[in-house]
Symmetry: C2
Subunit: 332 residues, 2 copies
């Protein structure tokens, strides 16, 4: 274990691959591996890239990798695929688009599939980001589809999150964007050369003002009061236009993302925001751990109860009561 971590920390690609597999498969020894990795810690900037399907996340990820590589930064990519019963990401065109980076020894790309509800999506994704951080990645890009609770949970744990939005979306997607809104540190208005971009920008602005008015979290940032020092300014979520396929505007977008990072590191409001986000991330991973342990310990019982309910032999509420018993405080 020690030698694996030492190799990993020296930047060995094979060690990184092995550690990722251990995390992914929850193999024996993974607990010790992670404990050691936590001790070492990661200095990597976790950059979340999310958005609805078709928004252009992969193209943007691709551009980001190019930018970071042009600055000689070492890059990790964790691509979280939507739950797929048979692909595990194998049929993703994304992977093909990123192929040029697969041959770069300073870029490590890893795909994480959800594999059913008990998979612990955000835990696995974050653990792999940690592996890549210890490996020496200065940036870890966390690419997720921004729909669904699990996927949003992943995005929420990034240090800085960019939400990619294409122009010309209907009512239905507005609702989706509402779920994404609180995740966004920066909006990337992608495909900004297409008609409808200006309208989509107004929609996002409207939703942000609506969000600030309705959501205590967002409103809290601007209403935090205290002495109005420059370093205590709330973060104003910018909307950056870009065309990810050509790279247009990506430089400016990256500049804004880096400003956000500066804000979280150097302003007191930014620091407390980052701490709150970390706390929420751990909270969520603890919840996932509970599910994981439940599956390991009580899987048979749950199967039996489900069968009896399905067969009409057991009242559902009695079944639920048996499940509740499992986590009831023992002192009672």
């Amino acid at each position: 274990m020690r030698s694996l971590v030492a190799k990993l920390a020296s930047g060995d690609v094979a060690a990184a691959a092995r550690a990722c597999r251990m995390v992914d498969d929850r193999r024996s020894g993974v607990t010790e591996l992670l404990a050691e990795l936590y001790r070492r810690g990661s200095q990597a900037w976790i950059l979340g890239i999310t958005g609805t399907p078709g928004a252009g996340k992969s193209s943007l990820t691709n551009q980001m990798i190019c930018q970071f590589r042009s600055e000689s930064l070492r890059v990790g990519v964790v691509a979280v695929d939507p739950s797929s019963p048979f692909s595990g990401g194998a049929i993703l065109g994304d992977r093909i688009r990123m192929q040029e980076h697969f041959e770069d020894p300073e870029v490590f790309i890893r795909s994480v599939a959800t594999r059913g509800a008990q998979g612990g999506l955000s835990r696995t994704a974050l653990d792999i980001a940690l592996v890549l951080g210890v490996w020496g990645a200065e940036v870890v890009v966390l690419e997720t589809v921004g729909v669904g609770q699990d996927e949003l949970d992943v995005t929420r744990t990034a240090d800085t999150a960019v939400v990619v939005v294409p122009p010309g979306m209907g009512d239905e997607v507005q609702a989706t964007k509402a779920g994404l809104l609180e995740c966004a540190d920066v909006f990337a208005l992608n495909k900004s050369d297409l008609p409808g971009a200006a309208q989509t920008r107004s929609q996002i602005e409207m939703m942000m003002s609506l969000g600030a008015a309705l959501s205590p979290t967002l409103a809290g940032a601007s209403a935090s009061g205290g002495s109005p020092e420059a370093s205590d300014e709330p973060w104003e979520v910018p909307i950056c236009s870009c065309v990810a396929t050509t790279g247009e505007g990506v430089g400016d977008l990256l500049k804004k993302l880096r400003e956000h990072r500066q804000w979280t590191e150097h302003s007191s409001l930014g620091q407390s925001t980052a701490t709150a986000r970390q706390h929420a991330g751990w909270r969520n991973r603890l919840r996932q751990e509970l599910m994981h342990e439940f599956e390991r310990e009580h899987s048979e019982l749950a199967e039996k109860i489900a069968s009896r309910i399905t067969d009409g032999d057991l009242d559902p509420e009695e079944g639920f009561e048996q499940i509740r018993e499992i986590v009831r405080r023992r002192s009672r």
Copy 2:
């Protein structure tokens, strides 16, 4: 409670609204209410309508309601919105589009928001479907966004599920569709008047053959063997072209959906498929109940552990161990 259920079963709209609110808020008495509803049971056909954002689910739901109403059937609609921290569905254009049905006393429309990870999305949605079934709905339409684990779990519990796909989607959406593939009893190729429809049809066909080759579940249906009686034919997932905004092709789509229902009710393979789906649905709701109880009993502990990890006072793996302790078998 008895009188509420009696009123509900007599078709009282106010009783339905009250029961839905009780389920939604998990108010005291909800356990007794549900136990009584389970005893009465529902004969409603649960029709899942799902698809990526912008696919046209709401327009199709709207058309379906019109069709069912033209046959004088009583209709329930459960609309599951993507997780939104501040909307709860309020900004959904969908709701406006369906407004004509809001004034029809034989149509009951209810929106379910996810409200955070512990919400028990599929449990709430299915419980509300049960309320509407007891109320006398002959069909309950369950409309969900088909991305994300929770949302897929909801769709999986429908008696019959239609996956709505618009033409001309990119690689990224193919991956999403892969997650949806196993949910689909029927595909609705919507906006089939737009360019790219034929290509999308081929893509779905290709993915289905790929799925049948790689997924044991799908392959199982065709490889089930035994005597080749007509009633034991596996279900061949059809692809129906339609234009939901005009209603074109919706009649044929509904015919296919009803054929699927016939298959689940009258063929032995269909019955066993339906039973397996019910079992999986209960299994999932038991899992959600566990989470719910965990939040109720151990929320403070989890907060404390998360804070200590965030502050660097506790090794994450030790925190996970404390959480695991909660569900460890007591006999140990």
